[in-house]
Amino acid sequence: MAWIAFLMFLIVMLILLSGFPVALTLAGTALIFAAFGILTGTFDPAFLETMPSRIYGIINNVTLIAVPLFVFMGVTLERSKIAEDLLNTLSMLMSEVKGGLGVAVILVGALMAASTGIVGATVVTMGLLSLPTMLKAGYQPSIATGTINASGTLGQIIPPSIILVLLGDVLSSAYQQAQLKQNIFRPETVSVGDLFIGALIPGLMLVGMYILYVLILAKMKPSTMPKWGNKKSNMGRKEAFSDILKALIPSLMLIFAVLGSIIGGIATPTEAAGVGATGALLLAFLRGKLSLAKLKEISRDTARFTSMVFLILIGASMFSLVFRGFGGDSAIQNFLTSMSSGPMMALAVVMVIMFCMGFVLDFIEITFVVVPIVGPALLAMGIDPLWLGIMIAINLQTSFLTPPFGFALFYLRGVAPKSVKTIDIYRGVLPFVAIQLIVLFMIALWPELATWLPNQL
């Protein structure tokens, strides 16, 4: 009865387009299909009985406690205007260089990404902060928006990204399943920390190539991104320097402390996130930006984001349960393993499907719905889980940047002034999409780019 599973998949996609909340659509549609299946004798009701214990497993998951803590840290940094100060000081530092403002935006994007990891939020914040400045400085709209879009999505790949936490958790259980099927009873594991470390080199490659592109463009077409002299640059060098120190050093220290303790194996991601959140609170307090009202906002934002993520996880769990009940899982696994050209072809097919799903669904949904279904099959073919995780992350990041459906483009369109044409946004992002694809193919060709560093530590 696998065709019912695929029909369900199709119908869920259609209902999702109506705009009803994703989590409830996934769960509700799956339930309706299960009910029909039970009535027609094509679905075993015993599947549904496991749902409460599956939810219990989700809320009892220790790895995922890192999610609210990282969100808390990110929201605190954002609400205390630390990102804003970063951008101001960095662009001041770079105002003498051609294309300097563009480079500053990329660097802040990478740093902010590292501290928040929420894609939409980063693109919106960057759009509000830097787009007016860049346009005023005389940057071509397409180049300004392209840079902002690309930098805003870095949050998915640069650790400590929340998305990597979720992906790491889903991958590790898929990996265990894959090994159990092959009768390996002392399975190897892949952890969130491993994924963080593995994402480091690819993430830095992306940042490096973005910057290179902007600098080359500034050299070749100087008129598209003029030097940027603002009032503050007339200030004494000493003063400027101390300003930069004040804005940059504490936040950099925080980010490196969080990342360093995970990479060094000193702390688990959850512990690092908790300490990072405390550090962010301390920073905000020292800057006089912390009040009871702010704390209230921060904790409410955190709670709402957390519960949004987990309701999707619960809905997706219901969906994949029913999908499996109709035999969809084994049909997909048979399809993937029967491919004559081997695991690389199977991987390529999965990647293309995920890329297209990225036009409709966000990272979290794709991680929770697709990875549990295709993950075990791919991993059982001997594909490295770390490599798979990094490929998925970059693939989806590229999907979110690709016109005309990319998510990031919508977010930026929402905050960009009317004078910026939509076609400018599309055109400006294309070179960055090309960079993404280059990095994706490089990692496909040389998996060591993702797997070497984790194996060293």
């Binding site: 989590a23 509700g28 409460p52 406690i65 808390f72 000193i266 512990e271 908790g274 984001f305 809905g315």
Partner: protein, 169 residues
């Protein structure tokens, strides 16, 4: 009528806003755990477990509040362009056919599961973990959260109905 609806929504919201403070406590508890482990070589299973319990309470009990404040992700390619009336229709139909069945299903199926845990006075599986009734309370949060979402669903359905109706006249 709308008075009752408002009260129900306020109730769901206040539950969510209360548990939201737990995120702040979680941050502090994690830091205490880290300090205890790395500086004093102290570990507490109970403290660790309290983190899990707070986390569970936040993600489950804040769900209705998140729903009320529009925090659950939608695919808004088309939705953002719909008129208020069409949005109301989407929310009404979705709530009736997707939200209600799922919440009722969860309440129905998890009640037995929770009742069993109460009966056997389940305590933590970890040695030195939190005793009865904490683990059972955590399980009970599943039907409780489903109930809260159901209430908020009723509010949304009724409000959507009013919205659609109002525009007709």
């Amino acid at each position: 009528m709308s008075e009752i609806l408002n009260r129900l929504e306020v109730f769901c919201n206040s539950v969510g806003r209360c548990v939201a403070w737990l995120t702040l406590i979680m941050v502090f508890v994690t830091s205490i755990i880290v300090i205890g482990r790395y500086w004093f070589d102290l570990g507490s299973v109970r403290l660790q477990e309290s983190l899990t319990y707070m986390h569970a309470a936040v993600l489950l009990l804040a769900s209705a509040y998140t729903l009320a404040s529009g925090g659950h992700v939608r695919v808004d390619i088309f939705y953002s362009k719909f008129s208020e009336k069409v949005k109301g229709c989407v929310n009404l139909v979705g709530t009736l056919f997707l939200l209600f069945p799922f919440c009722i299903f969860l309440i129905w199926f998890s009640l037995d599961y929770v009742a069993l845990a109460w009966q056997i006075r389940e305590s933590s599986k970890e040695a030195g973990g939190l005793p009865f009734p904490f683990p059972v309370i955590m399980k009970s949060l599943i039907p409780l959260a489903s109930f809260l979402i159901l209430i908020q669903g009723i509010v949304i359905a009724a409000k959507s109905l009013l919205l659609i109706h109002k525009r007709d006249h």
